[in-house]
């Protein structure tokens, strides 16, 4: 800390008001710049500029850029959390999201998007999509090197570019991702518990039924 106070040194107002040799202030200024120049060669903390393509400054967890879609596990198609509910599509202020629901041959919903496009040339990084998503699927990304020489397809992100693993989210924004993961796990556990309870109940009911109608069962066994 004392080093930084040494760098940002301000003149003492009492000293400045005193009579001094004419032109002395100029030499003081020259000494300051000379110190800057010489110390820049051996004091690392003076050289604060990050040499960008080789070095990168760590981004803040609060940094948010264009959205991405989180998926669990390793398969970006099977593990995708998105259910193509289209809430984000409807909420998006500049309407840069385009979703088509995936259906099987009978026209039944598969609860996953067939097409999920975000036009990042339109997106304004507001983050409303990630706020409204009830399935913990869409989050704001931390990527910033997005320049492209193709301003149409290069700026239209499909599922292949948008889908990123939950691990990536954990790395990008650990606090948020941990909270989400814990919540999802709790929900999953609850679901499993209710399912287990349901199954147990069903089993018990079955057993009860069997007890109530033993003849039927024996009869069937005979056949």
């Amino acid at each position: 800390m004392d080093q930084s106070s040494n760098i940002h040194r301000l003149p003492d107002p009492a000293r400045a008001a005193r009579w001094s040799l004419p032109g002395l202030g100029l030499f003081k200024g020259l000494v300051v710049t000379a110190q800057n120049m010489i110390q820049s060669y051996y004091r690392k903390e003076r050289m604060t500029t990050v040499q960008y393509p080789e070095q990168r400054a760590p981004i803040s967890p609060n940094f948010r850029n264009f959205p991405f879609l989180a998926y669990d596990g390793v398969d970006p198609v099977a593990g995708l959390r998105c259910t193509a509910c289209s809430i984000c599509e409807k909420e998006c202020p500049p309407q840069c999201i385009y979703i088509v629901l995936d259906r099987d041959a009978n026209g039944k919903s598969l609860k996953r998007p067939r097409i999920f496009d975000i036009d990042v040339s339109v997106c304004m990084n507001c983050g409303i999509c990630s706020e409204v998503c009830p399935f913990d699927s869409i989050y704001m990304d931390g990527e910033y090197e997005l320049s492209t020489d193709d301003r149409f397809d290069g700026l239209l992100f499909g599922l292949d570019r948008l889908a990123k693993s939950a691990d990536y989210h954990m790395k990008l924004r650990p606090e948020q991702a941990t909270e989400v993961a814990a919540r999802r796990k709790a929900e999953e556990d609850k679901k499993l518990a209710t399912q287990a309870a349901k199954e147990a109940k069903a089993k018990a009911e079955q057993a009860k039924k069997q007890q109530e109608l033993p003849g039927q069962h024996e009869k069937g066994a005979d056949v």
Binding site: P22, L30, V32, T33, M37, Y41, M47
Partner: protein
């Protein structure tokens, strides 16, 4: 062996003292070998000598543009250009290619002929001025009896070129910048020339080689007898230095191109290679004016300490040039740009009276020293210069400088 050849006046081709004149001598020898008439040999030799000077200083311009950016970057705790080549050594080449490949725009309302002529006119006087400076004992491109007069006469042409550029662009910012440049250069030319007058009085000659010769030798055996190391010389040298910064349009007196106010001054409507020529002219002018300052006050090619005479004299000149140029960079990295009224007031109320005072001081110094009243010379000339300076700066600080600001609400 080499020293012998130089001292005996027989020009050995490979003597270090004669090295900068090698191209000239080689061309002359080739022409003679080809059986050319004498006048042709002389002209070819002149061209070779001129090409040497221009080549050295264009190389210096390229190098300086890199060193300036590097130094300023270090002063601001940055690294500076480091992408092109090893430590950015190829940056001047990259800059040159960029400038050459840029579109050359002539505004519709510009006087196209003058618009074209101005960047050329700004380079030519600088190169002409470089031609008369004695770089070494044997390396004086053109030996003129009135070298100093020639230098100032040619140097004023720069102002004309700047004004042509401002006028011919047919636009308001160049015009404003040119008007500023004219007022600034004319104001600062006065103290610049008057501070040089003292040197002429002491030397008794306008010839630049003679001025350098006059500064040879050492006081007390180790203080070089340069003009700077005398009361009037120190005073005149400082005035010359400040005025030369203003003449070269450099920070903190770079108002003609003050980008915060008038875009780029007289260079606003220029692009591509014409713009590069303005920069080249500016840097060549910088070399010329600091070369003149070295010649007048820093002893030219004279060695700074006794016993260093074995080093070729032109090396001393260029070593001094590097020091002076680096001081310009240091000043550029330190001081903010002054306001136009401060600039003019400083020239007329401070520099000009002090420059005028160096004249009687130089005269008294010469007369008293000639009669061996050395101590008396110091006793008279030091107060003669110091007391008016203190009075002037006191007036300057009390009356004209902005008062300390009082914060009515923040301090209570």
């Amino acid at each position: 062996m080499i020293l012998l050849a130089v001292s005996s006046g027989a020009p050995s081709l490979w003597a270090p003292e004669w090295l900068p004149r090698l191209p000239q001598r080689l061309v002359e020898m080739i022409c003679q070998a080809l059986g050319a008439p004498d006048w042709l040999v002389a002209i070819a030799g002149f061209i070779a000598a001129a090409a040497t000077v221009v080549g050295v200083f264009l190389g210096g311009f390229a190098l300086l543009s890199l060193i300036e950016r590097k130094t300023l970057a270090r002063i601001q705790n940055r690294i500076g250009p480091n992408r092109a080549g090893w430590f950015g050594i190829l940056q001047p080449v990259a800059d040159g290619i960029k400038m050459l490949t840029k579109e050359d725009i002539v505004p519709a309302k510009a006087e196209w002929l003058l618009h074209l002529a101005a960047p050329i006119l700004i380079v030519v006087p600088s190169i002409l001025a470089l031609g008369v400076i004695p770089y070494g004992r044997e390396w004086v491109p053109v030996r003129l009896e009135l070298g100093l007069l020639f230098f100032f006469a040619v140097g004023t042409l720069t102002e004309l070129a700047v004004f042509i550029a401002g006028w011919a662009s047919g636009s308001k910012f160049p015009m404003l910048g040119a008007m500023r440049a004219i007022s600034q250069m004319v104001s600062y030319e006065l103290p610049l020339m008057i501070s040089a007058l003292g040197v002429i009085m002491v030397t008794g000659s306008l010839s630049l080689p003679a001025i350098v010769e006059h500064q040879g030798g050492f006081h007390l055996g180790f203080i070089p007898a340069w003009n700077l190391f005398s009361p009037w010389g120190l005073s005149a040298g400082i005035i010359f230095y400040i005025a030369s910064i203003a003449e070269a349009n450099r920070c903190p007196f770079d108002l003609p191109e003050g980008e915060s106010e008038i875009v780029a001054g007289h260079m606003t409507e220029y692009s591509g290679f014409k713009y590069a020529l303005f920069f080249m002219g500016e840097y060549l002018g910088l070399f010329a004016i600091s070369g003149l300052g070295i010649t007048l006050f820093l002893g030219g090619w004279q060695a700074p300490l006794p016993g260093l005479g074995f080093v070729p004299s032109w090396i001393w000149f260029f070593a001094k040039l590097v020091v002076v140029i680096m001081s310009y960079l240091w000043i550029r990295g330190t001081f903010p740009r002054v306001r136009i009224d401060q600039l003019m007031r400083f020239a007329w109320l401070c520099l000009l009276p002090m420059a005028l005072l160096t004249l009687p001081a130089a005269g008294l110094w010469t007369i008293l020293n000639r009669n061996d009243h050395n101590v008396l010379a110091w006793l008279i000339t030091v107060p003669l210069l110091l007391i008016p300076w203190l009075i002037l700066t006191a007036i300057y600080n009390r009356r004209l400088a902005p008062q300390t600001r009082t914060y009515t609400f923040a301090d209570s």
